[in-house]
């Protein structure tokens, strides 16, 4: 489409990525944009995928790549105004310098300010900006070990509201749903009224138990991933297992009379309970994962 409309010798670069925040998986393609960098504990690597800029030639195909961000990794997306900036000696800022600077900076949250300071020091005072300088960082929070939980309490909900989701994992073992429940309660704190927090805790426990038992078959090598995100209106919790492929059974209202008469198993309350505890429940799955998203509105007015 763009090829037909774009003026001759003009083109558009584009880096397109889809991130699954539940597990850090990042799928991406690149149409001639400056190659993004990924910071890892082992060094800074390129997120390289082959593709021509948009609008140059019709019918182009684009390579699609995939990677998984580890806990603590971050990705920098940037425009060429940074790497093509010049200092008074007409040296270019360049890719190697950017890569080296990133290697010294483990915190994606403060990377933008750090790079802009470095750019200002490089160009010197009175620099006339040559092109746009756009920086976007994407960081996967460091994993919280279970033993660290009590020392990482978030007492100020406002700091949570404005930041990225908090993610943690629990090993798949009977009884560990209480760890998930306790951790979510600690994160949410006073972000929900007490009665609503109790309901969310029950929903989290049931979803985590489902994930560990049915999704991961209590395999200790398959943790359950939990994401907690608080915004102005709701608390959202996603719980992901590694048991994709087989669809989750839809929630139905258990027939208590039939259970009491011995005509049905007394079990089968999990999804029913979850649905009745939270304002919204969404189930997603792919070939490898199930994810249950629980949404609890922060005030009664929004949902009840």
């Amino acid at each position: 489409m763009l090829v037909d409309e774009i003026p001759p010798k003009m083109f558009v670069t584009c880096f397109y990525a889809v991130l699954d925040p539940a597990n850090g998986r990042l799928r991406y393609a690149n149409a001639g944009h400056d190659v993004p960098y990924r910071y890892t504990a082992d060094g800074v690597v390129e997120l390289r995928a082959t593709g021509m800029p948009l609008g140059l030639l019709p019918g182009m195909m684009y390579e699609e790549k995939e990677t998984t961000l580890d806990f603590g990794d971050y990705v920098l997306l940037y425009s060429d105004g940074l790497v093509e900036a010049h200092n008074p000696e007409r040296e270019m800022f360049g890719f190697p310098r950017l890569q080296e600077l990133m290697a010294t900076h483990a915190n994606g949250d403060t990377l933008k300010e750090f790079l802009l300071d470095q750019l200002a020091a490089f160009t010197g005072p009175g620099w006339e900006q040559e092109d746009d300088v756009t920086l976007v960082t994407l960081q996967r929070e460091k994993r919280l070990e279970t033993g660290d939980w009590r020392s990482t309490k978030i007492s100020n909900l406002q700091s949570l509201v404005s930041n990225s989701p908090i993610e943690f994992e629990i090993p798949s073992a009977p009884g560990n749903e209480r760890l998930a429940m306790a951790r979510v309660a600690e994160i949410v704190g006073d972000g929900l009224p007490a009665t609503r927090l109790e309901k969310l805790k029950t929903a989290v426990a049931e979803a985590a138990m489902n994930a560990m038992e049915h999704g991961n078959k209590y395999d200790p090598d398959k943790p359950v991933s939990v994401n907690v995100f608080v915004d102005e209106t709701a608390v959202r919790v996603t719980i992901t297992d590694e048991g994709g492929g087989a669809p989750l059974k839809p929630s139905t209202t258990p027939d208590l009379e039939a259970k009491l008469a011995g005509e049905q198993s007394p079990r089968g309350w999990g999804l029913f309970l979850i649905q009745n505890m939270v304002n919204e429940m969404h189930i997603r799955q792919d070939s490898q994962h199930h994810t249950i998203e629980l949404v609890m509105y922060r005030t009664d007015r929004q949902g009840e």
């Binding site: 279970t146 033993g147 090993p171 073992a173 009977p174 009884g175 560990n176 749903e177 209480r178 760890l179 009665t195 109790e198 309901k199 029950t202 426990a205 049931e206 138990m209 258990p254 208590l256 259970k259 009491l260 008469a261 011995g262 198993s265 007394p266 079990r267 089968g268 309350w269 999990g270 029913f272 309970l273 009745n276």
Partner: protein, 106 residues
């Protein structure tokens, strides 16, 4: 690290009523202890059984299933069964699951 489930139950008889004082968390690991306590209560041939949840801090869906099982046994024996000491939260869960339609909530 998994927290070990902790549950225990004590049975006492008051007149024609047997009271099961339940403690801790009711989940799949509570099955044997809960069943044993109920068995013991039945030996007194009570007219009524009360499940006292005042010292219970967690009931999951498997625990609900265990309570359904006890309720089924009580109904089969035409023996009224009641729940006491539930927190507001679990009182609501007993309502949602309709357990409260089949057992008195005290």
């Amino acid at each position: 690290m998994a927290e070990k489930a902790a549950f225990w139950a004590e049975t006492r008889v008051e007149g024609e009523t047997a009271v099961l004082d339940l403690h801790g968390e009711i989940n799949s690991l509570s099955d044997n202890a809960l069943t044993a306590a109920y068995d013991q209560a039945e030996t007194a041939v009570p007219h009524k059984i009360i499940l006292n949840f005042a010292a219970v801090d967690y009931i999951n869906s498997t625990g609900i299933a265990l309570i359904v099982g006890l309720l089924a046994r009580a109904r089969a024996a035409h023996r009224p069964i009641a729940a006491a000491g539930l927190s507001d939260h679990y009182r609501e869960i007993f309502t949602i699951t309709r357990l409260s339609d089949f057992m008195e909530i005290q």
